[in-house]
Symmetry: C2
Subunit: 141 residues, 2 copies
DNA sequence: GTACGTGCAAAGAATTTGCAGATAA
DNA sequence: TTATCTGCAAATTCTTTGCACGTAC
């Protein structure tokens, strides 16, 4: 994906671009690994040697506030980030500690409807935790 | 609720009791406020002046591992704890930053079924985020 | 007396803040 | 120019660890 496409993508979400911001957004669009701040930083600092972790924090906070990126708190330790804002759930594997995308249809979880008592949800996060197929095989259970 | 009932409740979940453990469990059963480590500590230290925050951490970790307590990572900052392990979702209000319980029926979210590709979920967490009725009124929207 | 629980102090890790220099419109 | 963005260093906060003492069976 071209940098100027990403620049426009950010602009359309109310975020002014910069070399660093485009790099972070590009990273999230190309890596569906739900990276942590550290992972993003360690990968990007090779291409942008002067990059600072503060900038990663600033950038991700901005992206999350503008709704360009989702923050996941599934692993209980670090925050993880997802450039895919379409409706889907996440699965955290206790074995390999990776986060997997899980399709989430209205049929699977009708989350918009029927919140009682006037609660109004702007976001929904559905987290599953357990063992992924590969780790299940290793453990024989 | 009597301390010895709580002692037995813990024992039935494989946790040996102690003054501190019973106090923490009692606190969680009596306060449905989804408290953080600090809130639990600050309240309990008045009754148990020698109480240490390390003990709260140790105790909660033990409880979560044994499935007596649920850990919530909904607020993105601190961990919160819930002594109610029955199936229900949580709602985090951006205004008052409180966590509310939300009924979660199979109809609302059929989470056990149909995880694709052999994923096997042991836990499910459904988080809503938005504004609670009181905060919605204040903001007029 | 042996194993386990508790609590202090220190260490470690993650994130935020203050501010000065760099950059872009 | 003028506002905004970046990045360093320090500060803060949250959580974990190591270890000595206490407690219970």
């Amino acid at each position: 994906m071209q940098d100027n496409q990403i620049y426009d993508y950010l602009l359309s979400h109310g975020v002014k671009g910069s070399v660093q911001r485009v790099a972070v957004m590009k990273y999230l669009l190309e890596h569906h690994t739900h990276p942590s701040v550290d992972e993003i930083y360690n990968d990007l600092v090779r291409k942008l040697p002067t990059l600072s972790k503060t900038t990663i924090y600033n950038t991700l906070k901005l992206f999350v506030d503008q709704g360009v990126v989702r923050m996941l708190t599934i692993d209980g330790k670090n925050a993880n980030f997802d450039g895919d804002t379409s409706e889907h759930a996440h699965f955290f594997c206790f074995g390999c500690e990776k986060i997997y995308d899980i399709p989430q249809s209205k049929t699977n979880c009708e989350q918009e409807i029927s919140l009682p008592g006037g609660f109004k949800a702007e976001q929904t996060e559905l987290y599953y935790k357990g063992y992924c197929p590969a780790c299940l095989t290793k453990r024989d259970c």
